[in-house]
Symmetry: C2
Subunit: 212 residues, 2 copies
DNA sequence: TATTGATTACTGACCAGTCAGTCAGTATTA
DNA sequence: TAATACTGACTGACTGGTCAGTAATCAATA
């Protein structure tokens, strides 16, 4: 009986080629969102994903590529959902706008994906092409989809015409602030997301709708 | 005549004990805001301040302390200005609120200090005590000062009572978004700050004021 | 079913480069 | 001449990326 200290027979990982990329992208989201890009060690990402650092390089070419893929992976599906809702021909502009905002709060702000905006803000200056991707492929598209609904509401006499340039200030800013709050300040002062969402929607629609 | 390559007689820096800290804090703001905390090299801060790295350590004990001091230095004066305006006994609530917002846009959003919010968002998770300082000493105080004015407006019958919980959504969010935009996306799509500010104020006061 | 050999997902020690922090020495000022 | 603001080469710790080696898996064969 050997009593060599810690023979341990370190358990090797089984092979799961298909699941790895998704697991790595989830681990990356968690670690990058805490430490930022430069502050994140790939060893930590690997540990959280339950693999070794070398394995990351089997699926991604570099730290930078991993970061880019992670952003795409955690935000594009939500954007497409918002665009789909906007394409519904039926329903009042108010209802569609409410549904789009609901997706923003339920599928972004109150999930893990809420730290993506924070990461873009943090790293956008150092990775201009990332900021540009996010601007062109996320902000502009979300913006246009929702602006379309506002225009439709104005055309139908449902909304006031003067509201056409309130987009950023009234529609997106409060949601962005909520995402940031959740990520940065929630531990000191938890945000009641349901109430916040309600207030945001009330405020917006009160401003948009013609007097009834 | 020596023709030694580059005798150069590198000009040594003169001694200016009093000006150094301010110069270092300005250089730090510029470099940290581009690269973030972990991504910033103190050699770059030193170079931008026109000194050598060692000199930084004559005035600040560590990179972390420099970062903290920088945040305080570039945001506390503006906060105090906002609080001063809130303490004016005279004037309508609308006028005071307008003036406070004006300070936020003119002294924060459109100056170098606009990247402080970005830095808090970026580094708040890694430096919880920094996030807490910013929450307790900046956000709460600004929030309370402006909330006080809204309450005064409601009491005077100038504002609608229901608006008391619109603070974050209506008052601060659009300004935060503007600061972020200036720092991250302005190069792709410049923000017309004057128009944005005007829209923000109109939107807010339209929501706050009782029907006239 | 058992054995064998080929394939490849995965590992982790290592290397080369980077940077916060130090301190002995230099130049400036009083 | 004394005091000290300032310098910059140096160190030690750390990390992105590499790659030779290991073992899990599978197909072919007995």
């Amino acid at each position: 009986m050997t009593n060599k200290s810690q023979p341990v027979k370190k358990r090797r990982n089984v092979r799961r080629k298909d699941e790895r990329p998704g697991e790595i992208l989830r681990a990356a989201l968690e670690v990058f969102s805490i430490n930022g890009y430069a502050g994140t060690r790939l060893d930590d990402v690997a540990e959280r994903a339950g693999i070794s650092k070398g394995t990351i390089y089997l699926y991604f070419n570099s730290k930078e590529e991993l970061f880019h893929e992670m952003v795409r992976h955690w935000i594009l599906p939500q954007l497409e959902k918002i665009e789909q809702i906007g394409k519904q021909p039926a329903g009042s502009a108010e209802d569609i706008l409410r549904e789009q905002l609901k997706v923003i709060y339920e599928d972004v702000v109150s999930t893990n994906a809420s730290c993506i905006p924070k990461l873009i803000i943090s790293e956008g200056t150092r990775f201009p092409e990332l900021a540009e991707f996010y601007y062109q492929e996320i902000i502009i598209r979300a913006h246009e989809s929702m602006h379309e609904i506002v225009k439709r509401g104005v055309a139908a006499g449902e909304f006031r015409p003067c509201a056409l340039n309130w987009q950023l200030q009234a529609i997106l800013s409060p949601a962005l602030t909520a995402a940031i709050w959740k990520t940065v300040f929630d531990r000191f002062s938890p945000l009641d997301l349901k109430a916040y969402f309600q207030t945001h929607v009330d405020l917006l629609l009160h401003g948009l709708k013609v007097k009834s």
